[in-house]
Amino acid sequence: MKTNSNDSDSALIEKAKNGNEGAFNFLVNKYYPRVYASLFSFTKSKEDSEDLAQQTFIKVWQQIKSFRGDSAFFTWVYRIAINLAKNYVVSSSYKKQKLNTSIEYAEIDITSFENIESLLSHDESMREIERFINTMPESLKTAFTLRESEGKSYEEISIITSTPIGTVRSRIFRARESIVEFMQKELINNE
């Protein structure tokens, strides 16, 4: 069975290993929210979570050639983030250390994540999104849930729902679009 990130990221990971910054930035954009949220749960600090998330992706960029795909990509990224968070907790000189962090190998623009971080810092926003997903039309919700929660490929969803792959792709896209629209209208603009 296709897993959520093992297979789906493999092409981008290979490109990133070969120095393709665009592919790497795609992975950063994809996983930044989850990494940030994980770090925020440890630090409870927006600023420190931002710093640690940035350091995480710098390390990922520096070490991506050593990623062998034995685990899901996010699991590997998450482990790096947690190790950094551990140092954050046990090291009283964290503030001093972070000033010395080299960023010469990666240009990660964290400013574009401002809205994301704001939403992630509010549990209620996350619950609102979950609630909205439950109100979506059944066909969209089914395709979306099979993809996001079960990690099914489009082909597998096509078989399960007896629907052409093109329709599956369209439904998942429409589900995401409606959720993004909801977030922008109800959550971000109301912040």
Binding site: P33, A37, S71, E148, Y154, R169
Partner: protein, 228 residues
Amino acid sequence: MNNINEKLSAMYDGELSMEEIDDLLDIINEDPSLQEKLSMYGLISHASTDALNNVVTLKSNRKKSNRFLSNVWLSNSITAAASIALTLIFVNNVDLSRMGISSSYTDQISSAINSKEAKEVAFKSEENLADYVMKVINEPNFMNSKNSLDLKNVGFTKNTPKGDVYSKGNQNFQLRIEKNNFGLTQIKYWKHGNKMIYLIPLSDGRALTLYGNINLSTAVSISQSINS
């Protein structure tokens, strides 16, 4: 533009060909709005599926007077069975004194857990647990346990021929037993999508993992059945 957005969604899911990926990467790199949308997709994934966002440890259910227990890893002198009882107390917000645990004893625990060493041990354990939980979620075969247990006394039967899922009505779960208990002395649980992950220390020093659509009390009943 809608076509580009739909391709972005498909690329997010790893469903584009290498050629399409190259073309789209060039477009995304030039368009901040697409980059932001990509992050929104990441946030949606997080909101809808990510266990780490939905961590529902027992800590959050404790009342303020038990706050010192927020990082507690109870003394080995407390048996696993008693720990399960304590965990249930946390959930129900019942005062510890009603379990006959003296305040001096809880003060000792408080003092112990506030030491730097204890915090480091606790954090290390949390890290190991996080890795373990990620395995449960991300590796589909991980919960395909070789353990075969008779849980008919709590109403669950094992589905065959798949053989990995125990079910009762609309409740179902997979289980796995680890030889060590990660240093756990209380139940920990997480929510992942519509499923729960329970990590339960057993009285013989092993740990039981339950992953599926069951509630806490059922998970406790199952662990008690295995303990007995």
